[in-house]
Symmetry: C2
């Protein structure tokens, strides 16, 4: 029996995920009837089809474990082969009988037969220990009296090791093959920055890829890894939305980039106001020079002016009068947007076209797609698309922007999305943060769901940020960036932008979705820019912060102070304390006794925001956090 | 998507279990992309192939539930069909739009089309509400103005119900079919009594089926339901074990019944000392008249004298010198027993013969088999055997006597064993009892593993019974019989037999496995018999005690006192308090506030052992338990 294999998603229906270079552990319940000894092997096939094996060992209670470290990115296959180890069984029983003085000629003879059977299949070099043992086991012996030297030869360790390395797998059982997506490091870890290229122009002017390219330097200097752009395509004119989501646009209103397509083109075109495709290529190149990857928005929807509407009316929903249905979420109407009908009879044409769009942007240097509302499109389509794209380009990353019900979010991750937006944005209190992070780091979600924690998005300005003042921005930044290896901010966050459209709304006032928004990044005073730069520096300097499942929470004896740590072999642990109450001073009491050696009276901690060093005692340490000054401590702990 | 279906064992690889007449609940995560409403149906096939359906409803968070009550025993099949409910989606959106005053002619027209589409498939009787609604929805109406009467007709509840009962399942998804073994009540609940028929003779004489039949009256009077007999077959002579497991038998020693077979026959024969097959049939008949079912031991092993050894030497393990291997568990040897080699090339012959043995005893009225050490025989064989037997005779019960590692015990239950021996026998303390019962009643084991709690067996006299005195016997009896709906004792328990073979051993001194053991059931004074009779009476009078998963533990504010309850709709709850410390008096404080209505000042409890009635307060109640007098309270609670 081989059962309860981990990782395994839905009985092998979906692929688990790993990062190249990680140690991937595979565990299983392996057992058989009776009392015979077993052996088991992990069998691996890398993306090129190369086969290898790694031994498994019994941990306890019929649970076995083996591991491997995939180097190549792409699709790996793995399975488990297990068999009855007749030699190990014989040897185990012989040792027991020897201890009880019960070894007979027949007992030895059974071992001789097992060894002789293996001998022919071994290389010449491997044989001597077996041949030696055979000679000694056979030496002399009238029936009944078995000399201890012969028994010792039968139990010889070197011979047993050769037998174990060359097992007789007759009657072995092999588990159905499972698959694993092995991604590059950026799939797990990265600092994301979202901005609208059109907002990077001089005040009052429409920005371009050229002005946006200049902004990339600021973004890189803040320490980000990925730049995410809202759709860069031509924007519809019909039913264009005006400022603050007004249903009537004024002349000059730029419209929502998510109303994709006009007479200049659709998903394969760029908004002429931003420049040309060549300009886009230059922008991507400028990013690459700064170490920035460009992530594009992939929003499968159209403005009424999108070329597909005329060319492929069958891809849309039609009403009884023949008109095309616009998007709605009653009583809300989105007349500037036509959703795609994935039940179209031209499924083949639609899917291929959408795949073509992704491939088109990949050919222009884009390797990351932030997918808009994937949960309102066909699940089967996503599974097919991501599989198709990653078969050719396993380095391409898909981020699921699905803020929906938990089971739907999880399924999208299982279907292949590399990363996912999360509920983090709305988790503010200690208990809800802890519960959610335990779900993300201690359940089987670790095998397939990679979180990307955004502090804010163009659609989400949380009440916590609206009302908490600058310390709230620091707190949310540090939570996002140090709890999760992938995190992001949407521009404006660095300027503490916190005005909602109206009370109770999470929409921004004068949202960039409907108008240009000028910002001046040259003056850092009074902004969060230096703080962001420092936090991203701390992330880069401490590899433990690039991991997720190494997260541990610590007692602080204060419900307003969250303490967590991340550790990585070979580096000093990082301990983070955050006053979640963005207003009041809070005191935390922290003990790290499980990290320090017994008998040590104290140790040193380095606070990485202030650059100060403190002597801590082996017992309780008091830390006072005043959010008006600094709500966060990030300690590198010298243990 | 239909996912995470419960019950489902190993992705449908094994059958879940239920009892005829139970309400079987099936739950699943059911969801789709987008926001459309869904509908789902549980589809059922009974053992005769008859198909039925039961509606499922959304519970919350994409979890759906449906239930059915299987009447016929045997193999049921079930699956889930789910589909997008286009009419419900339209109706939901129309209601929202109506509230916002946004309903257009087109909105109504879409509903008209959906209704018209269903109309032809409905019976004449079902149509009027739809026809009425259609007429009213179409009444009048220049474009743009939709009268409220027309909207009300579109939202008509009766019409919606007809549409829901006659859904358009186009594009539905059906889950792979799952199977369920539906057993009779005895599979879950029963009081078992084990005895050796050969010990029922007059003092010094070998008992027979006739003397054993007389003992059945005593057993029935004690309130038992099932009588389990150790093997009744001819006993081997070669290497016969003597008294107290001595390796040499003295003349007259009766040998172990598990050393099956001699020149009189094997698994299809009865030991001539017990009588004939006809005598056995009479014994079974006598049991039936008393309401007792006879359970036979099914031990797949042979004495060296078993006819199979000569007829089918290929069914056994052979050593290099051609001799047949006896059983061993180094350094222990069992020279009186030959294990079967399930890897025999004559697998077909062996399996068929074993099945023939079971069928043979079924034809002699046996419907329960207590299977000896099933974990040392082929897993595949058990799955095949039980499936084959129950296809013809779904009333046959198999009890797994596997005291082995947890995963092996669970697998045997999944393979088809109706019931299982458990670790209960060694769980004495409050925490370990609670933990184990929570595992049995609150994990997915409830779907396949049915415990049978034995206080003792011919092989297990626990230290607790050896040293705890009479109160220990009461405590273990009540724990076994009231925690688990199936429980059993091995004879001698009623006489407080507690002498081990030697200190530290769980074997009985002068074990009945190797010698006759005379007991006198006529004198009840100083025995546990009246107490056992009362406990079995309480079980029969209180249906809640026949169930397992209705178990709840209660706080007692004392680690030596276990309190638990069982409830069943329509009956008063049963509350049990047990002083687990068999020596010292203990005080428990018990509150039943979750059972009693707010404002009630008190209630009455009836103690079922003493027959006394007490007035309890709504708050804390003190109960003093003195094990020297009575370590147990069983209350029927008047709430």
């Amino acid at each position: 029996m081989i059962e309860a294999v981990q990782p395994e998603l839905n009985g092998g229906r979906y692929r688990a995920k790993a990062i190249a270079g990680d140690q991937v552990e595979v565990t299983a319940d392996i057992f058989r009837d009776g009392t015979q000894s077993l052996a088991a092997m992990l069998r691996l096939e890398d993306p090129s089809g190369a086969i290898s094996e790694a031994p498994m060992r019994l941990v306890d209670n019929d649970r076995w474990s083996g591991s491997f470290s995939p180097v190549r990115i792409g699709r790996w296959r793995y399975t488990i082969e297990a068999w009855t180890d007749r030699f190990a069984t014989w040897r185990r029983d012989l040792a027991t009988k020897a201890a009880a003085g019960q070894v007979t000629e027949l007992d030895l003879e059974e071992g001789v037969l097992l060894i002789e059977q293996r001998l022919p299949s071994l290389s010449k070099e491997a044989r001597p220990p077996l041949e030696r043992a055979l000679t000694e086991m056979r030496a002399g012996g009238s029936a009944g009296s078995v000399a201890s030297l012969r028994i010792a030869a039968a139990l010889d360790t070197e011979m047993a090791e050769v037998m174990a390395r060359n097992p007789d797998r007759t009657g072995s059982t092999t588990y159905p093959t499972l698959e694993l997506t092995v991604d590059r490091e950026r799939a797990r870890s990265g600092a994301w920055y979202e901005f609208f290229p059109r907002s990077t122009g001089p005040e009052g002017e429409h920005g371009t890829f050229a002005t946006a390219a200049r902004h990339l330097e600021t973004v890189a200097a803040m320490g980000f890894d990925v730049v995410y752009l809202p759709p860069i395509h031509p924007i519809g004119e019909t039913h264009r939305k005006g400022r603050n989501n007004s249903v009537t646009a004024e002349p000059g209103d730029v419209g929502s980039p998510w109303a994709i397509g006009n007479h200049f083109g659709g998903h394969r075109s760029v908004d002429p106001n931003l420049g040309t495709l060549d300009d886009f290529d230059s922008f991507v190149g400028a990013g690459a020079q700064l170490g920035l990857e460009i992530a594009l928005d992939f929003a499968i929807q159209c403005s009424p002016d999108h070329p597909w509407v005329a060319e492929h009316p069958e891809w849309f929903h039609h009403r009884p009068d023949g008109s095309i249905m616009h998007a709605e979420n009653p009583p809300k109407k989105y007349e500037d947007i036509y959703p795609i009908n994935f039940d179209t009879p031209d499924r083949e044409g639609l899917w291929q076209e959408l795949k073509g769009v992704v491939e088109f942007w990949i050919s222009h240097g884009v390797t990351i797609f932030r997918v808009d509302n994937p949960h309102t499109k066909s699940f089967a389509f996503w599974e097919w698309l991501i599989d198709e794209v990653q078969t050719e380009r396993p380095d391409v990353i898909f981020l699921s922007e699905a803020f929906t019900r938990p089971k739907v979010m999880r399924l999208l991750a299982k279907l292949g999305f590399t990363q996912s937006y999360t509920y983090f944005t709305w988790r503010n209190h200690k208990e809800e943060l802890t519960d959610y992070l335990i779900e993300l780091t201690r359940t089987d979600m670790v095998h397939y769901f990679r979180p990307n924690f955004f502090t804010n998005t163009q659609d989400i300005l949380t009440e916590y940020l609206q009302t908490g003042g600058p310390s709230a921005f620091k707190i949310r930044l540090v939570l996002a960036s140090l709890l999760s290896p992938s995190y992001g901010i949407y521009s404006g966050f660095e300027f503490y932008e916190n005005l909602p459209l109206r009370e109770g709304s999470e929409e921004y006032l004068n949202s960039e979705k409907y108008e240009l928004r000028h910002r001046d990044w040259t003056k850092e005073d009074g902004t969060l820019i230096p703080y962001i730069r420092r936090i991203n520096q701390v992330r880069r300097q401490n590899p433990a912060l690039g991991l997720l499942t190494n997260l541990r929470f610590h007692e602080t004896h204060n419900n307003s102070v969250l303490a967590f740590s991340k550790t990585e072999a070979g580096y000093e642990p990082i301990l983070v304390l955050i006053d979640l109450d963005s207003v009041e001073q809070q005191e935390a009491i922290i003990t790290l006794e499980h990290w320090i050696q017994a008998g040590t009276s104290g140790y040193r901690v380095h606070e990485l925001i202030s650059g100060t060093t403190h002597e801590w005692s082996a017992g309780n340490n008091k830390v006072l956090l005043d959010p008006r000054i600094e709500p966060v401590r990030i300690y590198r702990v010298e243990v």
